[in-house]
Amino acid sequence: MEPKQPKPPIASTLERLKNRYIVQAWLVLILTLCFGGTLAGVQLTLGPIIETNKLNETIQRVPELILGADQARKMEKQGRSLSVEPLSLGVEKHGRKVFYNVYDAKSNGERIGWVVKASGQGYADKIELLIGLDPPNEKITGLFILEQKETPGLGNKIAADYWRSQFINKNVRTPLVVIRGGVKPANGIDAITGATISSRTVTNIINTAVSDLKEPLSLHAASVSRAKDEP
């Protein structure tokens, strides 16, 4: 146990009160100031790094989603890079405005594709995807699962390469359909055995995002080219 502090000489009531509360809390106040300063320093130094991490999480994926993994690696080796412009496009749906994060990828000033971040309710929790699209918004060039909490061993196979590669080069002018065995139409996707709901969710998210963004993307493309033409 700590040695008992010797009692201060009893003066007026005011002094006794002062000794009890404010003086005793001086350590807390000093510590608060020190720790506050430390945290401010941490925020100033590490804050920008964390922001960059968050942004890079999606931007780093853009080349491989639009060009494919091999081309992207070749580009990286040659030291070239794409210019990626993040946009936020709003779509009016059922009376609410829904915002999509879209990344406009250009190489040497010419648009080579879009990457759309879309999400939806999966079997267990939210599923977040990155969809790579070609400039006229008609074919899927890549698919990446950013976040999913589906059942391990079943639903989480949506993140597997072999399942995602089905989506590449699929034409999205007609909505994609999930089938479980049997004849596969041109716009058909094979469901994962035992994880039909997860497979359907991913397909639904892609269909919804593509149909929602058809108009905004073409409007944006038109306005950008108009801005380029006007001197």
């Binding site: 350590l27 430390t38 945290l39 790094i49």
Partner: protein, 213 residues
């Protein structure tokens, strides 16, 4: 008290005899939550070690200035600050791991291990003893987390540190990486440690009493 354990004893005690998870049953929340893989378990142990060490150092340095009724506030403030620092460092330099660990890094603030160590040891002992106590407890915590994570990862995915160790024909016991597997693994391992402890104390009693078990 004349019989306070020395620094060396504190360090060794923390690893198994007074293991924070298996013996004191403290800090069970991160133990169950982050042990689905070895990498996450090791990262969490390092974070807890950092916070435990820093908090013990600070509390030990100011131990003579602590007022009895304000000490919990000071402990909490110190621990919360260091947890914020640890969380930010993780988010800056190991972003993917930070996302995997998720909200369990800030939960170190209410981890009973650190509060308990500050209260029981650091607020009464000089700096070196407090540091060795922190190191011992952190090592014990790391041992506990790794043992559980090893069992869950190997049985659940056939991998260890994400390197395949079991043959591909092993049917992954997916339940082990899900919540029930965490509870079952911890329960069974706890039973095993209790059994080993009882054997050990029976042997000790047998030796001291001169009887054969």
């Amino acid at each position: 008290m004349a019989d306070q354990p020395t620094s060396m004893e504190r360090l060794i005690q923390g690893i198994l005899p007074e293991n924070p998870v298996y013996r004191q049953l403290l800090g069970l929340c991160p133990t169950l939550a982050v042990t689905s893989g070895m990498k996450a378990a090791i990262t969490m142990s390092c974070a807890v070690a950092f916070v435990l060490l820093s908090a013990n150092v600070i509390v030990s340095l100011i131990r003579n200035l602590l007022k009895p009724h304000l000490r919990i506030v000071i402990f909490t403030l110190t621990i919360a600050t260091f947890v914020t620092i640890a969380d930010r460092i993780l988010a800056a330099y190991m972003y993917q791991m930070s996302k995997t660990l998720g909200p369990y890094v800030p939960l170190i603030i209410v981890n009973c291990i650190i509060l308990c160590r500050c209260e029981v040891c650091a607020s009464k002992q000089p700096l070196f003893t407090a540091v060795s106590d922190a190191v011992g407890q952190a090592a014990g915590f790391a041992l506990a987390l790794s043992s559980i994570a090893a069992v869950r990862e190997i049985l659940g995915t056939g991998m260890f540190f994400e390197i395949r160790v079991l043959p591909a024909s092993w049917p992954d016991w997916v339940i082990m990486v899900l919540p029930p597997g965490a509870f079952l693994t911890l329960g069974l391992l706890l039973g095993a440690v209790n059994w080993m402890g009882s054997l050990h104390s029976k042997n000790k009693q047998g030796k001291e009493g001169g009887e054969k078990t």
